[in-house]
């Protein structure tokens, strides 16, 4: 027991290495354990500090190779929590092994839901639609740079801060997940996305009017939107993105018309 008490606590260096390794969390993503291998490997610097003995380290590592899945940027919160409770396991705290396993199972859903809403359904398409409209108008590479920097400031920032926040809160991680930051950030992303979608519609109408015969092009613009709505059904059934079907159909139609009229159309 005296030996146990002298076990070092994982410090800033270990937490930094865990955050860095978490960038490869999905490298062995598979249909059986999902992110399990990446999660276990990311935690290894902490386990190495807690378990100098190789066999004991392997035994604890094995328990993390089970199924794990969450949003890749928020997974570091789970890693921080696991590290904190693992330190208790190493000190011999009763029931800590079971607690870490139960907590990770419970966390998976929340981390996935919050992260997917914030990043995949929020900031990425919001910045994407806004930057795409500007790039279509200007043919500049700068919107892509702004998109890349803007997204990564938030995503990689959450990833790096996650280990520390998870470690500091331990089993009280629910407080971090209930922080208003997540809700506010998602709300701002939706507003940015809605404004970007509006800007796309506004710029599209102007470009259509300026580019050719106003009335004809406006009808064509409506046709594209209708095609897209039909495409939504195809998207659900065949996993093909609806806008691409609309775009492809419209382009084929227009190319055929242009070809038939020898370029006389607007």
């Amino acid at each position: 027991m005296r030996e146990r008490l002298r076990i070092p606590r994982p410090g800033r260096r270990e937490r930094g290495r865990i955050a860095l390794r978490a960038t490869l969390l999905q490298s062995v993503w598979n249909f059986e354990t999902l992110q399990g291998v990446g999660f276990a490997w990311s935690l290894l610097p902490g386990l190495r500090a807690l378990y100098p003995d190789r066999a004991e380290r392997a035994r604890r590592l094995e328990s993390y190779l089970e199924v794990f899945n969450s949003n890749p940027y928020l997974a570091t919160l789970g890693l921080g929590v696991a590290l904190r409770i693992e330190a208790e396991v190493a000190r011999g705290a009763a029931g800590a092994e079971r607690r870490v396993s139960r907590l990770l199972r419970a966390l998976r859903g929340s981390l996935g839901a919050i992260g997917d809403e914030l990043f995949w359904a929020g900031w990425r398409p919001a910045l994407g639609v806004s930057a795409a409209v500007v790039a279509l108008g200007t043919r500049s590479v700068w919107p892509a740079v702004v998109f890349l920097v803007g997204f990564n400031v938030l995503a990689q920032g959450v990833r790096v801060a996650g280990v520390r926040a998870g470690y500091a809160s331990g089993a009280g991680i629910a407080r971090v997940l209930q922080d208003p930051f997540w809700r506010r950030a998602t709300r701002v992303a939706r507003l940015v996305g809605a404004a970007g979608a509006g800007a796309a519609a506004g710029a599209g109408v102007v470009w259509a009017l300026l580019g050719g015969d106003g009335a004809g092009v406006a009808v064509f613009f409506l046709l594209v939107v209708l095609l897209g709505l039909v495409g939504l059904r195809v998207e659900t059934r065949y996993r093909l993105p609806a806008p691409s079907l609309a775009l492809l159909a419209a382009l084929i139609l227009l190319s055929a018309l242009f070809s038939a009229s020898k370029g006389a159309l607007p």
């Binding site: 490869l24 999905q26 062995v28 993503w29 598979n30 249909f31 354990t33 999902l34 990446g38 490997w41 386990l47 190789r54 066999a55 380290r57 392997a58 590592l61 890749p72 997917d116 995949w120 359904a121 990425r124 398409p125 994407g128 795409a132 409209v133 790039a135 279509l136 108008g137 590479v141 892509a144 998109f147 890349l148 997204f151 939706r190 507003l191 809605a194 404004a195 979608a197 509006g198 800007a199 796309a200 519609a201 506004g202 102007v206 470009w207 580019g211 092009v217 613009f221 897209g228 093909l240 993105p241 806008p243 691409s244 609309a246 492809l248 382009l251 227009l254 190319s255 242009f258 038939a260």
Partner: protein, 227 residues
């Protein structure tokens, strides 16, 4: 297309594949970024930025939520941008072919992605056996193997898709499919797609409708002013 350009495209294809989900996920693999990089490789960064934006609008609503499988937007935009730029260099606006091949490459890329994940399952099994046998360093070795395999998958699928697309471009560039479509039409159809997908994703409450309307006015004024 020179050997160096082909080599850089294949190398970039490997990076795009890895960034899509196995490593870091910085969004270098998004069409918006892939387009300008492909354009830079082929000496046409402005055209690359334009086509990257076109493909970004196509894949706006495609999200890797949970364990869902989505078309490979990175490969789609890489192939589509190569076809569009190479077509321009050959004197045709191959918009239909660029979008069509991009879309097909995205669907094929999803299949390759599935192979990679299935293969990862075998790697994970080997890792689990080694760790159970007392080797805590096995996950590190397995991750290196998986990343190398992912990079190889990305490079090969890029090489095959680009070769097929360019061969098809050679075949059809004198037919109507290659078209003589002005750029402004492609731009208008792309923003229509963006407006549609964006509204579907974001406009849910009154506050979003207000933001959408503000964006509409701002977008129209800026586009008008710039013209």
């Amino acid at each position: 297309m020179s050997g160096i350009e082909v080599g850089l495209l294949v190398l970039f294809g490997a990076v795009v594949f890895l960034d899509t989900w196995p490593a870091v996920q910085t969004m270098i693999s998004r069409p918006l970024v892939v387009g300008p990089v492909v354009g830079w490789i082929l000496g046409e960064p402005a055209a690359g930025a334009f086509w990257g934006a076109v493909f970004e609008t196509l894949y706006l609503g495609s999200m890797p939520v949970g364990a869902s499988r989505v078309p490979d937007a990175g490969l789609a935009s890489l192939v589509g941008t190569v076809v569009a730029i190479q077509g321009r260099l050959d004197g045709v606006e191959a918009a239909v072919l660029a979008v069509g091949f991009g879309l097909a490459a995205g669907v094929a890329g999803e299949r390759v992605d599935r192979w990679h994940r299935t293969w990862n399952g075998r790697t994970a099994e080997r890792i689990a056996r080694s760790v159970a046998g007392g080797d805590p360093d096995a996950p590190g070795r397995g991750i290196v193997v998986a990343l190398l395999r992912g990079g190889a998958f990305g490079a090969v699928q890029t090489a095959v898709a680009v070769a097929l697309a360019l061969a098809a471009l050679d075949l059809v560039e004198t037919t109507w499919v290659a078209g003589r479509l002005p750029t402004w039409i492609v731009r208008v159809v792309a923003v229509a797609a963006a407006a549609m997908a964006g509204a579907r994703l974001f406009v849910r409450q009154r506050i979003h409708r207000i933001a959408w309307s503000a964006g509409l006015v701002a977008g129209a004024l800026v586009a008008w002013g710039a013209a």
